[in-house]
Amino acid sequence: MSVEQIQQAEWTPKIVGFCCNWCSYAGADLAGTSRFQYPSNIRIIRVPCSGRVNPHMVIRAFQKGADGVLVAGCHPGDCHYSTGNYYARRRMLLFKRLLEYVGIEPERFQVRWISGSEGQKFAETAQKLTEQIKALGPNRKLRDVR
């Protein structure tokens, strides 16, 4: 959808969430089993570990029209693969600064640590992210002009 089309239609944000299989994806599953409600804007992509998420994938999401991106992994120290989320933390911190430098609002790209027992936190994160991005409006900066 181009930006013009978006402006015409009733706009709802599109959010891509990268969730590690062991903590955050399980946390999202727990939000489901506990029936914690959150807006239906987020599309979760399952990755084995937050360390698997390449900044390339985040850029690609923005390029293809995502309005927000969430990268979620195990809490530091609790990585199923012992150190994967430390790499994610460092990479994403640097990458976030790069995005900010390019002019992307910091709220659009968020990194969160959500454990498998934090269904509530997952639902709250999805809720808050949607609200923040709704307030920002559509992502214009990185979107492919098509």
């Binding site: 029936r35 599309r43 360390g51 698997r52 994938m57 199923h80 012992s82």
Partner: protein
Amino acid sequence: MKRVGVFVCHCGSNIASVVDVKRVAEAANKMQGVAFATDYQYMCSEPGQDVIIKAIKEHRLERVVVAACSPRLHEPTFRKTIEKAGLNPYFVEMANLREHCSWVHSKDKEGATLKAIDLVRKAVSKVNKTFPLFPGEIPVEKRCLIIGGGIAGIQAAIDVADQGYEVVILEREATIGGKMAILDKTFPTMDCSACICTPKMVDAAQHPNVKLYTWSELESVGGYVGNFEVTIRKKARYVDLGKCTGCGICETKCPKKVPSEFDFGLGQRPCIYKPFPQAVPNKPVIDAKNCRKLLENKCGVCAKVCPTNAINYEDKDELVTEKFGAIIMATGYELYDWTKDFGEYGYGKYPDVIMGLQFERLVNASGPTMGKIKRPSDGKVPKNIVIVKCVGSRSTEKGKSYCSKFCCMYTAKHATQILEKIPDANVYIFYMDVRTPGKMYDEFYMRTKEGYGAIYLKGQVSKIYQEGESLVVKGEDILAGKPIQVKADMVILATAAASVYDAPEVAQKVGFSYDKDGFFTEAHPKLRPVETNTAGVYLAGCCQGPKDIPETVSQATAAAAKVGSLFSKDKMATNPMISEVNEKLCSGCGLCIPVCPYKAIELKTITERVHGGQVQRQVASVNAGLCQGCGPCTVACRSGAINLKGFTNQQILAEVDTACL
């Protein structure tokens, strides 16, 4: 484009009541590459799986998308299904329409249906880029390590050893036996705890397949299921177990006495000691923190009296590394330290306010008072005794939010023990609720109340303070609707059962998850209660959550059965979703090597033909046995030469593309 089949599950009404499954299937039918789409009530049921198998054959499907529940639940099920139909088991992808859609968007049916269609499209795009994967095989080291030598560890050890496999019990104390060895009697049968626990300890120790490492700690764990490499620190014991006969002369001659940990400070022990007389191994250890020989180089009496020269003051910690195929965690629990939070009960400054486990020692025939109930301050026999339940349990303000499960029963047991030994005593029990599910448990509680005449008062205790020789317990009786004050000679607090203080540290060493309270997390609360999310690591007993002895023992046996099934094969299939190096692209920079937590990547030399000549160069190479498929290496690679099978860059990017449509 491959011929993809989409199967949308109703999950009874779990999905279908929110998501318009027919619309999802219709939309799927129009998606690029989808050759067939349908919906069915229960895809995971046998007829549901038959629908998939039939469709694969009829429509010559090459890839399958099942839009149902979380892949964490049923991915293995559907992999087996399509394997039956002759496809590679990794040609299936799941769209999570239940946990991630219908259950969380139940008020937004339209939004949920649109999201469901998107999730299916995302799965279709991913499955299109899937390559066939084949699990490898690795040998299984048929030895089991059991961490913790309480009743859970002992039972698990005996059960694994009886199946014919070697077992090592790792115990940090000088003896196995754990908390059960401390107890006097067990509810509801009032069996003597030592009479049922100590024979089991001996059985474990004398079993030909069991090796004990007492007075030892876990240092580090490497490797993976079937091939764990565990380093154990054997702490300096200062007593040569090979020479010592356990005669006990040293213990009687040691001149220095300190409070006994086993008796929770109610009794004394020498500085060379066995925790209790029936300890296994029945050989002493020197307490290096208090021994005068080790501290000041004086004394040395134990070495002089030892008839076998077993004392070695030069003893040092020793590290041993051994290989194991499976690990059972049986690290148990400890009592919540009430003294730091409960100022209203005196922060532990009143000697006659004691914990449940201290009372177990007071009433125990081998305890410091030889089983006579005497209060710790002046040794008088108490007449009025108050028991306070839920100290630190079921509280969101201080202590723990959960119910510690066994306190209701042990407080009833304590009340009957008091009333049997001191018939004219008055026992008052302050409770929030009395929870006694279990075989013969409620009958026991009723007998305590009605047969023995223990006085149960519903209400909490607000304050305990000293008045002269006795304690005043202020609380309320909410059934009578009034405050109540009891003059007591002794107070027993039923403190919460908490995780062991270093449980999170141990879990991190072994590499599996734990919850907010430090209890170890099982792989699935209902269907996989003794496994962890880390393959080859199992749970037994209170380390997973508070439970009583029968439950602990059953869980230990269950864990042993799991180990047995793991060890029943000589080789086990490995996860094929591991990293793979494209040697054409790899420049051999080696940046991926330090990123790998499993040391699975190393450089190797390959020979290539370039312009007719032979050139040797270095490329990264992944050890399939070590790689666990986490993927940080793929991001570290500058040239995009490493990919993670099953989660390839192409697959994830395809998902990103379709998720943003």
